[in-house]
């Protein structure tokens, strides 16, 4: 009798342990991270006491540690062309690229100050390989929506896992348009028969074309 109740207790303990949500998935962590950052940035945007320059600095600070800007610079140029450059040129290009991306990001933010942002559950990226859907454990996408006056725009944050097991954003898709991809297409066109210096020159000037 005693052994019966004992095994009952064991069964109860084991089943309750295995039915508990054991570990918070990385997708939940990153979703929470994005929600927090969005709240911080929204708070900064609505702050009426800070000057614009100070706001800009604080906003960039709050997102800087989350975004791998140097990887974005490399991917926008294309890894092959990047490897062809010497260290000094790589740094020159990367610096000017990052400056431009940050400026562009801030401009967009100010445009959408009054819009509400809804962050949804992140998930691992999936890829179809030979007809089978596979999940990629080193990539997570966190979707969010900018609720506009008449429509919604999707903003997708794409994370990758670094060698140090850190997760960083390497691309953002706005309404399905990847910003790294748009840079790649443009840079490829500019670099047709021109050197990297022409591209650096264009990035340095704030005019399009």
């Amino acid at each position: 009798m005693k052994s019966q109740s004992f095994s009952l207790i064991i069964t109860l303990v084991l089943t309750s342990v295995f039915s508990l949500p054991i570990m918070a998935d990385k997708t939940d962590d990153l979703t929470a991270v994005i929600k927090r950052r969005v709240a911080v940035v929204t708070g900064l945007l609505h702050n009426t006491t800070m000057g614009k320059k100070e706001k800009d600095v604080k906003i960039i600070e709050s997102v800087e540690e989350l975004v791998d800007f140097s990887l974005m610079a490399k991917l926008s140029l294309g890894a092959k062309r990047w490897r062809q450059l010497d260290g000094a040129k790589q740094k020159e290009y990367a610096d000017i690229f990052v400056k431009r991306v940050k400026k562009s990001y801030l401009e967009k933010l100010y445009l959408y100050t009054d819009e509400k942002i809804l962050v949804k559950q992140g998930a691992y990226m999936t890829k179809k390989v030979k007809g089978v859907q596979k999940i990629i454990k080193s990539r997570i996408e966190v979707p969010s929506y900018i609720i506009g006056k008449t429509d919604q725009t999707e903003l997708l944050y794409k994370f990758y896992k670094t060698k140090q097991d850190k997760w960083l954003v390497y691309d953002i898709e706005i309404a399905g348009v990847s910003i790294v991809q748009t840079y790649r297409a443009q840079f490829a066109e500019v670099l047709k028969g021109a050197s990297i210096d022409k591209l650096i020159g264009k990035l340095a000037s704030s005019e399009p074309l």
């Binding site: 004992f6 064991i10 303990v13 084991l14 342990v17 295995f18 508990l20 054991i22 570990m23 998935d25 997708t27 990887l71 490399k74 991917l75 294309g78 890894a79 562009s104 401009e107 445009l111 998930a123 691992y124 999936t126 890829k127 390989v129 089978v132 859907q133 596979k134 999940i135 990629i136 454990k137 080193s138 006056k149 008449t150 990758y160 896992k161 060698k163 390497y170 898709e173 309404a175 399905g176 348009v177 990847s178 910003i179 790294v180 991809q181 748009t182 840079y183 790649r184 297409a185 443009q186 840079f187 490829a188 066109e189 500019v190 591209l199 264009k202 990035l203 704030s206 399009p208 074309l209």
Partner: protein, 264 residues
């Protein structure tokens, strides 16, 4: 003895509790990509996420014309459309303009409905039908959107270009249309199909027409375009600033956005 057994069981269960358990989600978790940490492998893994798109834009037979048209459109937007839209926006309060936008959106229901059906998206087409009925009646001819606000009915934007893409037709080469902006071969053909189902376009040989002639259609279209522009006035300028080279930028943005729309 029993205490020892209990203790060891407790420790075992605690240890098991520390082990990560994969998400019992609907995704296929039977396989995943290994991370590649040597530099070339690492780069190539990312490259494979992007590079396929760049090749598709190499075939651009109309590039000369497209560039000129992009510049013309840019001049038109910057010097005609957006200034007029801004004046209009100063006169008409935003709530009114949002209502007008919803009104025109509601009128384009036939295009969305038919194309959802053609893509076998039956629950979506049903939701569109419900939206149309609710918004036309309760929403006072579509000026308001109680379908979303009260019943959480989502819109499902489909058009003939997307339907053709759904059936596997590739976009074809890029074409920049006057005033309408970037398009491609498939979507330009699709545009004609959309117009045929558009209640505020006048077709002489179509049985049902809401309007009586082309001038009315043009007038309404002008109001629609100006109204939309007034609601999105700053976005075009801001988008332009991201461009290092305007024409390939819009061409690429158009293609990516379109592919996403077709996927959905």
């Amino acid at each position: 003895m029993r205490l020892l057994l209990l203790l060891s069981l407790l420790i075992t269960t605690l240890l098991l509790a520390q082990a990560p358990v994969t998400n019992s989600g609907k995704e296929n978790t039977t396989a995943y990509e290994e991370e590649n940490f040597d530099e070339v492998g690492f780069d190539d893994e990312f490259e494979s996420e992007f590079s396929k798109d760049a090749d598709q834009e190499d075939f651009d037979p109309l590039s000369g014309y497209n560039r000129i048209m992009t510049d013309f459109n840019d001049l038109f937007y910057t010097n005609v459309l957006y200034p007029v839209a801004r004046v209009y926006g100063d006169i008409v309060p935003e709530s009114g303009r949002v209502g007008v936008s919803r009104f025109f959106d509601n009128l384009h229901f036939p295009i969305r409905f038919v194309n959802n059906v053609f893509q076998f998206k039956f629950s979506n087409s049903g939701e569109e039908l419900l939206r149309f009925c609710v918004n036309t009646t309760l929403g006072l001819l579509g000026f308001f959107d109680p379908a979303k606000a009260w019943f959480d009915l989502e819109a499902h934007d489909e058009d003939f270009g997307q339907t053709l893409g759904f059936y596997g037709l590739g976009g074809g080469f890029h074409i920049v249309l006057p005033i309408l902006g970037p398009s491609n071969l498939r979507d330009t053909v699709g545009l004609v199909g959309n117009w045929y189902l558009d209640p505020i376009v006048y077709w002489q040989n179509r049985r049902y027409n809401l309007l009586s002639n082309n001038w009315q259609a043009l007038g309404l279209k002008a109001i629609d375009v100006t109204n939309e522009a007034s609601l999105h006035a700053d976005e075009y300028e801001s988008l332009k600033k991201d461009a290092v080279d305007l024409y390939p930028f819009f061409r690429n943005v158009y293609r990516q956005n379109r592919e996403k729309q077709i996927e959905e």
